[in-house]
Symmetry: C2
């Protein structure tokens, strides 16, 4: 029987390597091994209790029916208010689109912008879904190599250099996954001006917004009100499994985005939306602030630990919950290092190859989504592993 021919885009879309590693980690765990998880891009804190209670109340009240495609007006207004109050930035509630996770926001923004063959400039390394979503809508990711010299972020000069007549958008993430670095606000503003001048879109992934440790929290919207901003309740608000995010888009793009949203999703999860209304309460924000402090302590601890173990961290991670470490003093194949570390020391981390870039095979991503105590134990195990 002939085999069904699958879509051409599948050639360009890769599975995450960390998934095979995660499956193996679970296998080992099932056999009784004590695995230390530093591979997972997910906070280890539970969803704040007020949000959970609001979710339960929604279920009890039968708020389990379709909502408007762009989300419930109360939540769109609450997010706009959060920008006004927290960032002193004016966002019209009509610009706020509630989505099934940041994934949904990325999908809406890219499917609204990209025609087949259109190019998007983005950094390499980057979060892999970004380039995969571009392929999904038949766009062409124009990957720009960045390294420690650029703190793994795009610059205005690099953007201009890689611009073509087909460039329709620039994508930036700040704080970034896997590096935890922030883009320089002046560079970002210059990139935004360039996009505006060339009738292209600036997309900024701010899903780690709030998880930033050395300076005040920020948003690109403060200087680039026309940017498309992708955000999420997953990371800072610790609602991963609820699948809820949002997109801020220029007002004149909203009718197109609404068309796409009603066709692609019908509506975001109703209980998740009602739960998220409790995300901006004073109690919840105070709890999240204490958790942010905890992440900061973990970053400081892990940074010192990895340096002492012989890893090189060429760009100070300032946000998210990742450290992107160069392992070339310890191995010439970081992926094999990760696999062997899991097998013999039961410490799970993510190979740099998931994120791309020419030096990816030298890099490893450590997530500090576990306690300092567990990270200390991981350090001891890694030390023994390196010596063996």
């Amino acid at each position: 029987m002939p085999k069904l021919k699958l879509a051409s885009r599948l050639e360009y879309i890769e599975p995450f390597r960390v998934m095979a590693l995660l499956a193996r980690a679970k296998e080992l765990e099932a056999k009784g091994h004590d695995i230390i998880h530093m591979e997972i891009g997910e906070p280890d804190f539970p969803t704040p209790p007020d949000i959970v209670q609001a979710g339960i109340a929604a279920l009890l009240q039968g708020k389990t029916v379709y909502t408007p495609a762009l989300g419930i007006p109360e939540l769109r207004a609450a997010i706009a208010h959060f920008y006004a109050h927290h960032y002193k930035v004016v966002v019209d509630p009509a610009q706020v689109v509630i989505t099934p996770g940041a994934s949904g926001a990325l999908q809406l923004a890219l499917s609204a912008i990209l025609s087949p063959g259109d190019e998007v400039i983005l950094s390499n390394p980057t979060y892999p879904c970004n380039r995969h979503f571009i392929h999904m809508f038949e766009g062409v990711p124009r990957l720009v190599e960045v390294g420690p010299a650029q703190r793994f972020q795009l610059t205005a000069a690099l953007t201009r250099e890689h611009w073509s007549s087909r460039t329709r958008a620039v994508m930036v993430a700040s704080p970034a996954n896997p590096t935890g670095t922030l883009i320089d606000p002046d560079e970002l503003a210059q990139i935004g001006d360039w996009c505006l001048m060339h009738n292209a879109a600036l997309l900024v992934d701010e899903i780690y917004q709030g998880l930033i440790y050395d300076q005040p929290d920020q948003t690109v919207l403060a200087r680039q009100p026309n940017a498309f901003v992708i955000n999420s309740f997953s990371k800072y608000f610790q609602m991963t499994g609820w699948r809820l995010g949002w997109l801020i888009a220029p007002l004149d793009a909203i009718p197109a985005i609404e068309k796409l949203a009603m066709n692609a999703f019908l509506s975001p999860s109703a209980p998740a939306q009602y739960a998220a209304l409790a995300a901006f309460s004073d109690t919840t924000l105070a709890l999240l602030e204490s958790r942010r402090q905890c992440f900061r302590e973990r970053r400081d601890f892990l940074l010192a630990m990895l340096t002492e173990l012989g890893f090189d961290i060429p760009a100070q991670p300032q946000g998210a919950f990742y450290i992107y470490a160069n392992a070339s003093h310890l191995t010439d194949n970081a992926e094999q290092f990760a696999i062997r570390l899991l097998e013999s020391a039961n410490v799970a981390i993510t190979p740099g190859l998931d994120f791309g870039g020419t030096a990816a095979s030298q890099y490893l991503r450590f997530a500090y989504t576990t306690s300092i105590e567990r990270m200390r134990e991981a350090g001891a195990r890694i030390k023994t592993f390196i010596k063996s």
Copy 2:
């Protein structure tokens, strides 16, 4: 300032007309009007209590984190078991993909199958999202006019007639929206054989499965085990706002679908998945059976009522919760009829133009997602409206 150029696919993707009508209905409601809603494709029954309780338990137990991209193994197994028990059809749990609504299932299936320019044969009229999703992934919907003579369903002969060298898939919905008709199982099997012979995919939308009133419930998988089946917890299980569906796909397509799912969604909603585990309990299934009986009574009532009012229903609706009525004896513009009916009689229905087809401007879709009492009142209002 130059306006951002949006994606070319937006020219082919339309908003639902009923949305404007729904917005107007809500406006009138806010002003104190008593609107009878027969436009909404959503059960008026709340989510069954056991499912709600399972959702609450999941929230209390912190089951609010990412799940595997294809869904939690327990739910994949429960769905496979449901097919075995209820339809006597063998489905490997590995074929079951849990998705964010049937929308997510449609998206995965089409993005896995369609390369740009690939054609999909589907009936006209059809649920509009179907053709829009095809455009989203740069495929070409090949709309085949069907009418009362075909009970608004594709036939094997029509499929062969519209086949081209670029045809990659055939899409069928049974029970169908907006007509409520079923496809003849022999025709469907012939279409499936033809697809198999031509190395193309058969996609069957079974999201109204279970809501069928004149004959035993069925699935295409009984005769076409290679079909892609789109299904949902929204309609029969009355979980619309939870946004949970599933896709059954041939085993050899699953790795591709998993790649797409992990990139497009990361994972379906965790609490919704744990809640859905209670969907197959005896208590819940008994409750759903009583609600199905209720839908059947409503269909019979509405069918008689509309016929008496002068509408023509040329194909007996056998499932879902819609009646597709020809209004040409009453008006020469069904959309205007719907708008005026809402304004002056406060009865909301959906214009056929949302679903396409050459005769669409003569048709109206009535949803029996409200009580017989309310439908009787709607009938009285429509009678007065027609006479005026």
